[in-house]
């Protein structure tokens, strides 16, 4: 007993050293101290350097006049506007190219991915060649190639090339006719939305009919009819305006219509074809991952090929396809920042001009980080919601 008495205090000290909780606290405090220390050191140096260069930190510069022009913008902008507005223009340009890129990349990826599994040898081989060549060459290089194809290989507006329908391809941009402004057009857009909602209603109605009576309604045709029928009716009721704002050559350039600059077109094409190659591989492996027995079982209970795809194969394949496709969408959005290399005024491109003029490097980088993190978060949230929506419900 006496022995135990003398050793007790020693064991306590010993115990603290070997107590996992005490150690954990110590390690965490140490790590935090190191990180904070490094952070403080870097900030200290930065502040000293900024003071020496007479740059005031903070976001006050956003209210100052930008003084540079931006070649394309969704909202009215000119050089006398503020830096804040210039960055907003860049942000909108990023969003436009990313949204369209995601749309086209998904289309290309789906078509090519299914083509690689085609029974037609030529189709499968061509799809493989496409996938292997876009995946193994840097995106930056592909952007340069697209840009040089558009600016060097397409003709000057004087000897424009047309693909019909008054669409003109020139090295100054692609000119597309748009309908003349008419009060009917917003209503037509509204009717399209109504049609889409109606299509959902029809789907639920058809499902209920099938569950109660077993009859299968041609949902696809009904949906297409309401989606396209509603706008068409509204358009006819509104007097069917057919006036178009057609691009017309005036001097050395075109007037009228809308123009997509070579920079925008090259960036969109590059992003869509590059990411499309990656999505194609995801789609292919997703379809291959559905066991053959599933298709055979579905056929043997008497489902038609279309229903087999819709009810058995796609729901299982989508579960595998969605998560990696989400990260491809995120990659595409982040890769749109390569716009700076070919001069499309996206967020990073405009931000860099701002940064060079004002010297506000930290603020500009903070803006980039906030914007891209927000976009990433939103896309992830949406795709996670969709993924949960189609996920397998287990007990």
């Amino acid at each position: 007993m006496a022995q135990a008495d003398t050793s007790a205090p020693a064991q306590e000290a010993h115990g603290l050293l070997y107590d996992p909780r005490a150690r954990a606290v110590f390690y965490q405090v140490l790590t935090l101290a190191i990180v904070v220390g490094i952070g403080w050191y870097l900030i200290h140096n930065t502040l000293a350097n900024l003071a020496q260069q007479n740059i005031a930190s903070g976001f006050g510069f956003l209210d100052r006049e930008a003084g540079f022009a931006i070649s394309e913008s969704l909202i009215p902008y000119d050089a006398s506007d503020t830096y804040g507005r210039a960055i907003l223009v860049g942000l909108l340009n990023t969003l436009v190219v990313a949204a369209l890129g995601i749309l086209f990349a998904t289309l290309i990826g789906t078509v090519v991915g299914i083509s690689r599994l085609s029974s037609n040898w030529l189709v499968a081989k061509l799809a493989s060649v496409y996938v292997e060549s876009v995946r193994n060459v840097p995106l930056l290089l592909q952007l340069f190639v697209w840009y040089s194809i558009i600016t060097v290989s397409l003709p000057h507006p004087r000897e424009e090339m047309t693909v019909g329908l008054d669409i003109y391809l020139t090295n100054r941009g692609i000119y597309v006719p748009v309908p003349l402004a008419d009060p009917v057009w917003p209503l037509v857009g509204l009717a399209l939305l109504v049609g889409i909602v109606l299509a959902f209603v029809i789907r639920r109605w058809a499902k209920r009919i099938q569950e109660t009576t077993g009859k299968i309604k041609p949902v696809l045709w009904y949906s297409l009819a309401v989606i396209f029928g509603c706008p068409l009716l509204v358009w006819l009721a509104g007097g069917a305006p057919i006036g178009m704002d057609v691009p017309v050559r005036e001097g050395f350039n075109f007037q009228g219509g809308i123009v997509r600059t070579p920079e925008f077109t090259a960036l969109l094409a590059g992003l869509s074809f590059y990411t499309g190659g990656f999505i194609a591989e995801i789609v292919r492996s997703g379809i291959l991952a559905v066991p053959r027995g599933q298709t055979e079982a579905a056929r043997s209970v008497g489902l038609k090929p279309g229903r087999v795809l819709q009810l058995v194969v796609l729901p299982q394949a989508l579960r595998i396809i969605i998560p990696p496709t989400t990260s491809q969408y995120l990659n595409l959005t982040k890769n749109s920042s390569l716009a700076v290399a070919i001069g499309y005024p996206d967020l990073v491109s405009v931000g860099n001009t701002t940064l060079n003029q004002t010297g506000q490097a930290i603020e500009a980088i903070l803006i980039y980080m906030t914007v891209y993190l927000t976009i990433s978060l939103l896309i992830s949230l949406f795709m996670n919601w969709y993924n949960r929506h189609i996920a397998l419900v287990e007990r």
């Binding site: 040898w121 030529l122 292997e132 040089s148």
Partner: protein
């Protein structure tokens, strides 16, 4: 009864002509149904429309290397409609080695050969042991001495003159090898039970993965000088390299985390029950298994970064893409975009395609024992 013993079957008849041989292959693979036939014919028409002009451009109308003998090869090129291969003949050494002194260019060439050699033996499973480490420990200093010089009678070449293929290979190799241990620590930190360490790791990984590489490169090229005490300067190439390392670490951390998650729980519990410390458990039991599982995705990450190093051309370093763009700014050779892009695209394709084939092979042949 004897008849049954000597039963001789009739020789089997050949399959119908239309289902075997070349014709049968055509029928089965290209013209199986009317719409397949239609698609095939459309594609053949499209390919002819596409390939004929390309062949004309690449071969028939092209200006070959012989134009270099003339006084003004660029002018000869401009007279012809086709590709100007004389451009490549004139500029290939600049595109491959950048502004490295012309007479010393055997050094980057040798350095590239050694690095590729190191990678090739690293791909061979027979070298997956201590020997490989010695090869790298000898190889890397040799490559560095070859590139920078200054000793052993080699002329010193500052990093501003480095460029082309050595830069592309070097940035990706150094970037990934330095980022790898960082990535392992971040992945372990992300799975740590200590909240502060876990939150810091998650914050770092998600912050970096949330932003484009180009902003990280801008940050490292513009802000690193600001972070350092006034007056301290840091080499441009090193800044880009630091940016790539910081960026790659976050991505590698996620790859390693995937491997860590695939290690069965029982392995952790067994190690704990043996009384191993955290580092013994991690170093001896968990990591060896986790890293083995992460080898194929690691190769894929490497391919991605090999392509992404081309972004350093935006911060005006002369990697392959930067050097090709630089060559195109020469007044007499302006405009031969397609030739120079095709040339470097081919180089990238050869590297990336062989690496991706290797990674597919790995996925088939490695970890076969642990696969379910």
């Amino acid at each position: 009864m004897a008849n049954t013993d000597t039963f001789v079957p009739l020789p089997s008849r050949p399959p119908p002509r239309a289902t075997s041989g070349f014709l049968g292959w055509l029928r089965g693979n290209l013209f199986s149904t009317w719409y397949n036939a239609l698609i095939t014919l459309l594609l053949v028409w499209f390919l002819v429309e596409l390939i004929v002009p390309i062949v004309r451009w690449v071969v028939v109308d092209a200006t070959l290397f012989s134009a270099l003998g003339t006084d003004d090869p660029a002018a000869v090129c401009r007279q012809n409609d086709g590709a100007c291969w004389a451009f490549i003949a004139e500029w290939w050494r600049f595109i491959l080695f950048g502004r490295y002194p012309y007479v010393e260019q055997w050094r980057p060439a040798l350095a590239v050969a050694i690095t590729i050699g190191l990678w090739v033996i690293s791909c061979d499973r027979r070298f997956w042991n201590k020997r490989l480490m010695y090869f790298w420990l000898v190889g890397v200093p040799v490559v560095y001495i070859l590139m920078s010089g200054g000793i052993l009678g080699l002329t010193e070449v500052p990093t501003v003159n480095w460029g082309g293929l050595p830069l592309t290979i070097g940035l990706s190799t150094v970037g990934l090898t330095v980022a790898f241990p960082l990535g392992i620590f971040l992945a372990l930190g992300r799975r740590s039970k200590m909240p502060v360490i876990r939150i810091l790791s998650i914050a770092y990984i998600e912050l970096i993965r949330g932003v484009p590489l180009i902003t990280v490169l801008f940050m490292s090229s513009l802000m690193l000088p600001m972070f350092l005490p006034t007056g301290v300067t840091i080499d441009v190439l090193l800044r880009a390299q630091i940016g790539i390392i910081l960026f790659a670490a976050a991505y590698l951390a996620e790859v390693v985390r995937g491997g860590l998650q695939a290690v069965p729980r029982g392995q952790f519990e067994a190690a704990d029950s043996l009384g191993l410390t955290y580092w013994q458990k991690t170093g001896l039991i968990v990591l060896p298994q986790a890293l083995r599982i992460s080898i194929p995705p690691l190769v894929n990450t490497f391919i991605g970064f090999f392509k992404d190093t081309s972004l350093v051309s935006i911060i005006s370093l002369l990697d392959l893409v930067g050097a090709a763009k630089q060559a195109l700014t020469n007044p007499s050779w302006r405009g031969f975009y397609q030739e120079s892009y095709l040339f470097i695209a081919l180089i990238f394709f050869i590297f990336c395609f062989s690496m991706s084939k290797y990674s597919q092979w790995l996925e088939k042949h490695v970890n076969t024992g642990t696969r379910r």
